[in-house]
Amino acid sequence: MQRYSGFGLVKHALRHHEDWQRQWRNPTPKPRYDVIIVGGGGHGLATAYYLAKEHGITNVAVVEKGWLGGGNTARNTTIVRSNYLWDESAALYEHAMKHWEGLSQELNYNVMFSQRGVLNLGHTLQDMRDIQRRVNANRLNGIDGEVLDAEGVQSLVPIMDCSKRARYPVMGASWQPRAGVARHDAVAWGYARAADALGVDLLQNTEVTGFKIRDGQIQGVHTNRGDIEAKTVGCVTAGNSSVLARMAGFNLPLESHPLQALVSEPLKPVLDTVVMSNHVHGYISQSDKGDLVIGAGIDGYNGYGQRGSYPTVEHTLQAIVEMFPIFSRVRMNRQWGGIVDTCPDACPILSKTKVKGLYFNCGWGTGGFKATPGSGHVFAASLAKGEMHPIAAPFSIDRFHSGALIDEHGAAGVAH
């Protein structure tokens, strides 16, 4: 792997950038692998990387129907935080957070993880109770967090309207300083390049069309480029998990919904933290390019169209302008949509299935990006050992039968 550094950049400049190496190969599928990962997004690529890196399993294929990182990795609003309410979620997202904190160096790829802090605003007494409950839980779980009052919020974000004038005045917030944002595409590319360097085959434009199953054991996948065999297959296909599951003969407790986001035109920096509000339904940060990156809740209907309905965008901007009246004259450049698999309890599924050797990693809803390194790490360990990693174990599909849900609705609501 060609090592990246500032010094290297100078060397390449002198050679007119003529001898940059490919960041990953474009291999021909082998007939057989030890493990197949279906889905070349951030989570799938991270899984492949950790399989190779930590478990020495390098005979791995990542099968991607389009281009690497082209699903929700390419479409999310890049927020990273770990201040979840329940122990199980907190453990998972904090595991991810610890990986984020050295990821650029580990991958030798600057994923621009910017720990600028995330505010989750409270606008009602119940919001504030929930915030206190969550921050107290976070601290006892070893996760950084503070409860701020309205003045504290105002001093962090001077341009926000924290006055009593607002329809739902800001009463306070939870504040996680270690949280922030990262450069989404770079995460996929960084993992792809590192996994490729360890021998993982990244198969783009390769679509899984069915599974080979014998005696309840997975044998491999059918693809538009032929059959590929493996005794271990991990599906990490956010947005399309139910479609894959049905190919394998079972349903999942998922619904796929459109999730929309939008950006303003690029502006000179005005907002240095991430601000999220469940109550007025909107969240916002400003990218290093200057765009205000804005998102909100999902559309209520099932949809695989990578677009949602316009009123969702309107409500989101209403919330943003309510919080930031100075943005009224700023202009919205672009909107887009992703497809998110939502679980009834707003928590993901990392699980074995009825088919031996076939694993699913799905149901991240609107919050999958932040978990990318942690999800990949524990899912790889689970695939390698054939037993779910302890952090992943509570996220089994079985919880929807036993009733042991991990209900993050109260704490996470719509916004991620």
Binding site: I213, H222, R246, P253, E255, G300, R307, Y310, S402
Partner: protein, 130 residues
Amino acid sequence: MFHIYCPYCEELREEEEFHPKGEAHIARPEEPEACSDEEWGDYLFFRDNPRGIHHEMWLHAVGCRKFFNITRNTVSYEILETYKMGEQPTVGAEHLAREEKTASVQAAEGGQQTVGASDAALASVKGAQA
């Protein structure tokens, strides 16, 4: 934004008047006590969530307040029909599913069972959901 024909109001209305209520035709088991935990969980949480033809329930919340059903393509978002509660769809998921299946099922080889979205698989999934 959808333009939805309400079968009770007998006219097209804006999506903003409606609320989507998830998959249609999920009947509550007649005898809940006779259900296993698994069957009960399936009824509560597990859904077809198809990419393609979807029968779904909507509520004309700001309107006649009636629940009704829509057959909609979840990719193109085209609404193929709307029909009243208690009625059955005329455009079936099996119509599109059949096309999808022929595309996804590979010829079985060497005694291996190949699972696309086979009828058997669909049936086993439907099971408890009637």
